[in-house]
Amino acid sequence: MSNNEFYSLTVNGVQHPVQDAWVGESLLYVLRERLGLPGAKGACEQGECGSCTVFVNGSAVCSCLVMAATVVDTEIATVEGLSSDGTLTDVQQAFIDEGAVQCGFCTPGLVMAVHHLLDQNAQPSEHEIKEALSGNICRCTGYGRIFEAVNTAISRRQENAR
């Protein structure tokens, strides 16, 4: 498939050269298959399920819908970059504590979506939480434990802020 394309992507603050890539490759494919960052998951390839959610310049996007070669001059953040020292973020810990993880395939995308929500809005309403997560499909949990995880993360942040 080599078209001898060469470009580089900045992912989680690190520059990655992308060599010999076909120009049609999605950001999801390049992250997973070329850069060794499989945290974003492919489940629908249509931007419906949110499993592949990453941040591009701080915006949450479906990486399956973004051509990798179009985001060369951006800051890309993936689930692997949420925590630099290997510890869990408050959202990740809340997902574990509240039983929001079953098969876990949607989990990285949901964790990204929740971080994005709480970065924009520290105290979202129930409706705001549901709307913010409605682009992420989970087939196992029925969402109940995920809502609990979001609420737990919010309340722990508030406690820590006191």
Partner: protein
């Protein structure tokens, strides 16, 4: 951040999943995340036609594409040309005929998924297109030609029970239609096959529900001894029945052996819709005869399950459906006729609920009709007829399981109702959601009920045993099993069992692979009972060895020793030693097979003890409906579920909430649309799944009555949540709009036209 650990993660606690940290960090290895050095990609050529004769296949152009290593067809299958869970009727690759849209014809292997796609496009297949058989009623017609050498009727079974002339003053009937649902697990089918250097064996990492069944079917098709097909469970992104059948297992291994290099296959979402079986669409007619008070006197029923082109588990789905005709209610007299038939529609097989979903949708519709005729409430009619332990099913089988049906109904009824819809309700709380499509003053609210019985474990004489090994080295416990972890949480339950039995806390699960005996399938709500029983048995055997050692060293009777928390104590209360201390320097390892009690086939009249055990659940649904737009918002689902005991309450809650969401999907949005044998919506854009905005508020109550037959007192909890919630929601819609809606999913036109 996390609280200080003050308790041991034993049975009964909400122990947290050991795979949780890796999953939230994106570090958990799903099968689709696996790579091998020198790896190639495989892809499948599929039929665009539901029924056609293959005239010729020409792959010469595909083979000329740079990067393409090989193309394989049925000519290249070294062993058995077909596979199947119950009957081996499905070709590895179609040879003479394709019998459903999406049937595999060939597979390519190349250096990049895009090269594979171009190669598939370059393969020329000449078809003689035939008229598909798509109406399952036609499959029963003897004059319609068979579309498969095994015939068009996969199975027919009757049940004749008691006095078939019995009747009563109330006679109600309904003709119910259940749509084709997709399991829609998030992690699509994936496998990585690594051939042995001599190409006489293969290692396969695969997302599956049953490693040993895959191994058996793969070995037969690959013409290899079973021990040369070594399977390891790759991370599984959900299953719900769709991974019980072979999908890409044989193809991936075949390609790897063919080219002598590692090969990975992974379906995209569209291919996934064609690559696995679905929930059977069914038509169920029922006529109930009842006393004036509303007690069931007799049930007449006819079931027609559309099995699609290949048998899969259709024959077992049929038996599950017809043997659950009466639901969780007393009934002495019945005459039931059931068929599972072959068509050129997509093949159908296992999905959570397995035939009982279809039966329940019909019998619950009937219960509401009896209630109306008798002038009593939906709750009263269900309490009046509620089954109890010791009652006989229409198969003659006595229900020996704990059967707290009335308690499930009462506890559900006691759960709080939601607040009425506010005139100022947020748009997201209205049917249709955002965009202000519905106005609060147009909304009508309805309440509906569903109650169900579900068999757990496999039926009809099948010995679906499970195997586990417990090894203790210097106090560190390893439990080994081949139980597929598909998301349900057996990897948290198994260590809980070991901690409870052994009094040791350092427990890990070994790799899940075929280096131990079968665990049976992760299906039929059976792994807590079966693999839980196997882990419990293996740990108990190790505990006996530990007691023998401690007794010998201390001059005690091993039978006097027990585990108390983390200590070994004797019954006299004079001896105490921490287990950890007692096992230092020692190695113990024991293996145990757990078998459930034997079951038997049904006779010609459908009589026989064909099931192992039963679980029960009640659901009450509250919906808001816009009758003009035909839009529905499921406001709340209340449920009380018979679970035996809660071994991990958090996991039980997760199963209940997740199952309810899937049942909601079947009630109001999920359906694979098939027209003339062609699937019209194979994508997440067109096949609608419940989102966070569709999820109802769930209020749940555990009905805990220890099940004496179960090794841990616990019943499986996976399937019941999704069974009676669907009829409950549809009943609530009927209640809201006053229309007799006989099908699910309920579409807007079913409400407003």
């Amino acid at each position: 951040m996390s609280s200080v650990k003050t308790r041991r993660d034993v049975l009964g606690t909400s122990a947290l999943r050991p795979d949780g940290p890796a999953k939230v960090k994106g570090e958990f290895d799903f099968t689709s995340d696996l790579h091998a050095d020198n790896m190639l990609w495989g892809a499948t050529l599929r039929s665009p036609h539901p029924y056609a004769r293959i005239v010729s296949i020409d792959a010469s152009s595909a083979l000329k594409i740079k990067g393409v290593e090989a193309v394989v067809t049925s000519e290249d299958v070294p062993g058995q040309l077909t596979y199947g869970l119950i009957s081996s009727d499905q070709p590895v690759f179609a040879k003479d005929f394709v019998r459903y849209m999406g049937e595999p014809i060939a597979a390519v292997v190349a250096d990049h998924p895009e090269t594979c796609r171009r190669a598939l496009d370059a393969i020329v297949v000449n078809f003689e297109v035939l008229t598909p058989l798509t109406n399952p009623e036609d499959s029963l017609n003897q004059s319609v030609p068979s579309i498969h050498p095994d015939g068009n009727v996969i199975r027919n079974q009757k049940i004749v029970s008691g006095d078939i002339t019995a009747t009563g003053p109330i006679v109600v009937e309904g003709d119910y239609v259940i749509g084709m649902q997709d399991q829609a697990f998030l992690g699509t089918e994936s496998a990585l096959a690594i051939p042995d250097a001599d190409r006489k064996g293969v290692e396969v990492f695969v997302a599956t529900q049953w490693l040993h069944e895959d191994q058996k079917q793969m070995a037969a098709c690959l013409n290899l001894p079973e021990e040369k097909v070594r399977l390891t469970l790759g991370g599984v992104g959900g299953a719900f029945g769709a991974r019980e059948d072979i999908s890409l297992q044989v193809h991936t291994a075949l390609l790897a052996l063919h080219v002598g290099r590692p090969v990975k296959m992974q379906y995209g979402r569209e291919e996934s819709f064609f690559g696995h079986v679905h929930r059977h669409p069914a038509r169920v007619w029922m006529r109930h005869h009842a006393t004036a008070e509303g007690k069931i006197v007799k049930i007449e029923a006819r079931f027609l399950f559309d099995g699609g082109a290949y048998a899969s588990t259709s024959s077992a789905v049929l038996i599950n459906g017809i043997t659950h005709t009466q639901g969780p209610y007393k009934c002495a007299n019945a005459i039931v006729d059931g068929y599972a038939v072959r068509t050129n529609n997509p093949p159908c097989g296992a999905m959570r609920g397995f035939g009982v979903v279809q039966a329940c949708f019909a019998h619950e519709g009937q219960m509401d009709k009896i209630a109306t005729a008798a002038g009593i409430s939906p709750v009263e009619v269900r309490l009046l007829n509620a089954m109890e332990t010791g009652d006989a099913l229409i198969t003659g089988q006595i229900v020996e399981s704990v059967a707290p049906v009335a308690r499930c109904i009462r506890e559900t009824a006691a759960l709080p109702m939601p607040d009425p819809l506010s005139p100022n309700a947020h748009e997201l709380d209205l049917p249709g959601g955002s965009g202000l499509t519905a106005q609060p003053h147009n909304i009508v609210r309805g309440v509906g009920w569903g109650v169900s019985i579900k068999n757990i474990m496999y039926s009809e004489g099948f010995d679906d045993y499970s195997t586990a090994r417990c090894t203790v080295i210097d106090g560190k416990v390893t439990v080994k099993f081949a139980t597929s972890e598909v998301g349900q949480g057996f990897v948290v339950l198994a260590p809980q069992i070991a901690r409870s039995v052994l009094g040791l806390d350092d427990v890990v699960c070994d790799t899940i692979d075929t280096n131990i005996g079968s665990a049976g399938s992760t299906s039929a709500s059976r792994q807590t009972w079966m693999s839980g029983g196997a882990v419990d048995g293996a740990c108990r055997m190790v505990r006996e060895r530990i007691f023998e050692k401690v007794a010998a060293e201390n001059g005690l009777n091993p039978l006097s020793l027990v585990i108390e928390d983390t200590d070994i104590v004797d019954s006299m209360g004079t001896f105490r030693i921490p287990v950890l201390q007692a096992v230092q320097g020692s190695v113990f390892s024991e293996e145990f097979e757990h078998h459930h009690r034997a079951t038997e086939d049904l006779d010609d009249d459908g009589q026989g003890n064909c099931h192992v055990a039963f679980a029960f659940v009640a659901h009450r649904a509250v919906v808001d409906v816009d009758p003009e737009l035909g839009l529905v918002k499921v406001v709340q689902v209340a449920t009380a579920q018979d679970i035996g005991v809660a071994l991990n309450p958090l996991s039980v809650t997760g199963q209940i909430e997740g199952g309810i969401a899937q049942g909601l999907g079947l009630a109001v949005m999920e359906e694979i649309i098939v027209q003339d044998g062609k699937v019209r919506n194979p994508s997440f854009t067109d096949y609608l799944l419940p989102t966070a905005l569709d999820a109802p508020n769930v209020v749940a109550s555990f009905v805990e009555e220890y099940e004496p037959q179960a090794p841990l007192g616990a019943k499986g909890v996976g399937e019941p949540p999704c069974i009676s919630v669907t009829p409950a929601i549809v009943a609530a819609i009927r209640n809201a709009v006053g229309k007799d809606i006989p099908r699910c999913p309920v579409r807007p036109q079913d409400i407003c036209l």
